[in-house]
Symmetry: C2
DNA sequence: CTTGACTCTGTATTCGACTACAGGGTTTAC
DNA sequence: GTAAACCCTGTAGTCGAATACAGAGTCAAG
């Protein structure tokens, strides 16, 4: 354990990281880190005598893996299973392979969809720029959908929560 | 009011649709339709004397537009703005164009990311099948994260959402 | 010794996009 | 004429992935 004096070995290569540091380096946010731990994605780190989490730098790689997997469309739950499975010894477990394979299929499917609509959207935008008119799927459809009078936009955009 | 007798013109081309029918044809679900209406994506339809929603078939196109836009990654809120904007007269509004253009950029970004990781994932899976070992990013990282050191992390990737 | 930055646990809240349900009215088929 | 199938409003719940907050302990600097 962390015998009170090992703190002073604060060289940058081997230092145990406190949660704030991990958050800073991984870009993941303290609360999220604790949440990951609760959810079984991280396993519990050592603690200092006072109860502070004390991470080994390896956690950063793990977090990186998690982020990558997320981008690929894995849910935290699936990621958890992959990690747990690996850790449990039976490395290339069938179940995990299934997940990966399925996700791959879904991914391809989604990629195809996205490429298609990207083309449509791009085309519409181009024409829009040219002619000042929206065309094709993007707005032909809006136009097509006439709204039976009434007050259209109803109320103000009170709850307009734009982010990102 | 719909003059009690015009209901009987139930020819298939002009019939006003009740919500269940719209749900069936659009594949969108009654509750979701009402939710869209509440959210300002649909505007209120006429009602029969008894208060039932009575949709014009054009709503189907609108719903189709909404679905497409969603697949492209637009939020309901953005979709709403696009529609409202169009309806408000100033057709090819700058704001909407901005949304579309930005979304397009994001989409391309995301496509690139996805293709990259798809390659990695595919490769890992192939090797896995071959050698029974997970390699590369997919599991090297899991293995690495046993609890040993390493280094950095670049900036976070944009928040991407998986849906479906 | 005190301040301020940091951390702890535990519970609650957010957000988007729905979905479910309670407690009614209406239409339609037999 | 009655039961099933539909529709209404309004409110509440779900799900994934976090965030936020309350109330308390800990640590390094001045």
């Amino acid at each position: 354990m962390a015998l009170r004096s090992n703190q002073q070995v604060t060289a940058e290569s081997r230092s145990p990281l406190k949660i704030g540091e991990v958050a800073k380096r991984s870009g993941i946010g303290i609360e999220a880190l604790r949440f990951y731990e609760r959810s079984g994605l991280l396993g519990q780190p050592c603690r200092t005598q006072s109860g502070y989490r004390s991470y080994d730098a390896a956690v950063l790689q793990r977090l990186d893996f998690i982020k990558r997997a997320q981008v690929l469309g894995f849910s935290l739950d699936e990621i958890k299973r992959i990690i747990a499975d690996k850790q449990a010894g039976h490395s290339p477990c069938l179940e995990v392979r299934e997940i990966v394979r399925n996700r791959l299929e879904e991914l391809d499917e989604r990629l195809k969809e996205m490429r298609l609509y990207r083309r449509e959207l791009g085309a519409a935008l181009a024409q829009w720029d040219e002619t000042g008119e929206l065309a094709g799927h993007v707005c032909g459809l809006i136009e097509g959908a006439q709204i039976e009078h009434s007050n259209p936009t109803s109320r103000g955009l009170s709850k307009n929560k734009r982010r990102k």
